[in-house]
Amino acid sequence: MYPEYMQESLKLVEKTRPERLKKSLSGEKVFTPMTDAERGEVLTKFHPDYKADARRKIRIGPNRGENITLEVADLLESHSRINPDDFDLSRVDYDTDVLVIGGGGGGAGAALLARENGAKVIIATKLRIGDANSMMSQGGIQASVNPNDSPAIHYLDALGGGHFDNKPDLVRALVMDAPLVIKWLEELGVMFDKDSNGNMVTMLGGGCSRKRMHSARDYTGAAIMRVLRDEVKNHPEDIQVIEFSPAIELLMDEGGQVAGAILYNLETEEYIMVRAKSTIIATGGFGRLHIKEFATTNHYGATADGLVLGYRAGANLLYMDSVQYHPTGAVYPEQILGFLITEKVRTMGAQPVNKFGELFVFPLEPRDVESSSFIRECTERGKGIITHTGRVGIWLDSPLIELINGEGAIQKQLPAMYRQYNRFDIDITKEPMLVFPTLHYQNGGLEINDQCETKIPNLYAAGEVSGGVHGRNRLMGNSVLDYNVFGRRAGIAAALNAKEVKLGKLTLKHIKRYERELQEADIHTDKISPMLLPNYTTPEVRARQLTAHYEGTLR
């Protein structure tokens, strides 16, 4: 139930619904999609990335002088958690062929494929294996499987969505591996939604020109991650999982090669060393940096640790000036602020409407365009709905879904969404959802090639922590695909590399060099990174903890 002050607007949504439904059922487009010029205008005027203070020049490291997202620049211009002189490099706690940093979908896939290619693997992860954005993705995974579709059309859509900045070799890998990934996942036992002939149920995602969104109800990420985690756990002899132990720096050798990482046991507060012939960074994204103070859909651990590790070791960043805001984050009730409302809701026919019940944008524009038009509606046009806590949003008219797809469609295909709102006594089959853009995805990241190699020997990256495949805007369903495609590729490449590598004497000189760069650039800060975990306690409590000036976890 929505409060009384929203009822007038809700009545207007109900009033315009029959007419909007009619148009939707007629098969014509419910709203005209934007042209290139219109997209450009709404993005530059309303996308948070284009705000004057959204970016600044980074003063140190391989990308020095480049404009990147402010919060990322601050994080990168921070001190290491350790003083290299305090660390005993003669004591190797673990020795392995492949070290995977991160226990999400990309890391799990990498570990499985590295194992298949003969490597002994360690997965080091900050929380539990499977605690990752991978688990939370709802809507789907893209793959061109239908007869009217092709990898080439998928390529076209992905590049257009990314504003033509995507790295071509990475997109080729993404679209060509996609059907293979679906097959691999099905053979591992992932249950995709299917029709009566056994073909996959596919839907249209934002910015896509063909129905190629494969789903597992609205638990797609969970369905995949549960299976990958189960499979990783089936191989304890080859894959060792070290939980609650985030990597806090990479190790290198005298020859400039990466040689493993230093982990931090969150519980005993010890630093431990893993020597590895190949190291894969699969730490995911940065939502918990709360860029521009946005709420986020992201996992608790999404604090960009991998960017810090890679950058200090000398790896390049690509497109770190670009942030994805998902158009539909929850605004009401307050307890679910910023939570993801899957794009599948619009895919199934729900429309974004303003406080007068007017549809104001094509519902399935690429995400940055859709988000920007929501912000325009709520700011310049003043047609948003304002809550009692002063937040603003627009309606996502979910009751249309059952009017289009038949009664029961929401409970059957969107059970997570139904359950989420039902916990707060809102029935989304009968009432719309109040939404506003929410911080969702790191479009850029560590630069890799199509074998997931960074420019530093023995260092690989896969999934959200890497950059290039999505250009400056990712399409729905391409991230689940990304971590599967590149997680697998990284695992294979790292295992093959491990057969050849000879490591030299271990060193942490790169940390000292980075420290020197901070000094030379005259950067004075008490910030320390990686931040590992965000801190959500109150300023009063932090003052009493004597930790008020720290970012994240520091002990």
């Binding site: 939707s24 999609p33 290139d36 929380l127 539990r128 605690d131 688990m135 939370m136 061109s144 499987v145 009217n148 092709s150 390529y155 076209l156 257009g160 033509f164 060509m176 293979l180 679906i182 097959k183 099905e186 053979e187 591992l188 036992g189 992932v190 249950m191 299917k194 056994g198 996959m200 020109s209 129905k211 638990y219 969970a222 549960r226 189960d230 756990k233 089936n234 519980e267 103070e293 709420a295 986020t296 859909t297 608790y300 307890q335 679910i336 602020l337 993801l340 895919t347 026919g349 059970p415 997570a416 359950r419 989420q420 506003f436 801190n535 959500y536 306690t537 009493r544 903890q545 976890t553």
Partner: protein, 233 residues
């Protein structure tokens, strides 16, 4: 759109975190209350949106002898709640090679024999924060109905509350993931589209077209993109 701890103006209520009393804002989730009180969560916190099962919590209210269960990120606090999180549960998980298994009751008899000790007490169902019919899927497996078990357990987030409460010491969520994997791999019907696309890719049918796209100048490629036809919803 800042993620804030609840406004200090909110009405405060008392609750007990592992027996210690704290004042927290009314309307907070249990997770919000823990953080408001000053906890930096390590275990017991994951996706914060009800998908990962990290924040399984047991609690009791003063007027009731019953132990209740919920996800800390999804459960709103009540006055005088006594709560504790379950940081880890040493649950049994069988190791298996899915390729070697048969999608039949005998597989479960062999690798999860405790499944058949179910006494139909329904405690698992009552404990489930997803409101799944946990006992029903366990009973379905005992009858050998893997398809039904897979369907009923589909929305499981593997938080472990069912197993923590089960008197027969069944690990329902690990049994269920096996049921779903067997269904997905062996029992679900396979369509033709995927196989034929894989064959085309293997025969390099799309290599040339994508190669051309990769080398096209930006303006021509843009034209091609905006001229593409969009399939109807």
């Amino acid at each position: 759109m800042e993620e804030k701890t609840p406004s200090p103006k909110a009405k405060m209520i008392s609750l007990y975190i592992m027996g210690k009393k704290y004042e927290v804002p009314e309307g907070s989730t249990i997770m919000g209350a823990l953080e408001y009180a000053g906890y930096q969560l390590k275990r017991g916190c994951g996706c914060r949106e009800g998908f990962c099962g990290a924040c399984a919590t047991v609690y009791r209210t003063t007027d009731d002898y019953k132990i209740k269960t919920g996800l800390a990120c999804q459960t709103v606090v009540e006055p005088n709640m006594y709560l504790a999180q379950i940081p880890f549960f040493p649950a049994n998980k069988a190791l298996y090679d899915l390729d070697e298994l048969e999608p039949s009751i005998s597989t479960f008899q062999e690798i999860y024999p405790e499944l058949f000790r179910c006494v139909s007490c329904n405690t698992c169902t009552k404990a489930c924060p997803q409101d799944l019919e946990v006992m029903d899927y366990i009973q379905a497996l005992i009858r050998g109905d893997i398809a039904q078990a897979a369907d009923l357990s589909f929305d499981c987030i593997m938080c472990g509350l069912c197993a923590a409460r089960c008197p027969a010491e069944i690990v329902q969520y690990n049994v269920a993931v096996l049921a779903r994997r067997l269904y997905g791999k062996y029992l679900s019907k396979k369509g033709e589209y995927l196989e034929s696309r894989l064959k085309e890719i293997k025969e390099h049918k799309y290599d040339k077209e994508i190669e051309e796209f990769m080398h096209m100048d930006r303006e021509s490629f843009k034209k091609k993109y905006y001229a593409r036809d969009i399939e109807k919803m």
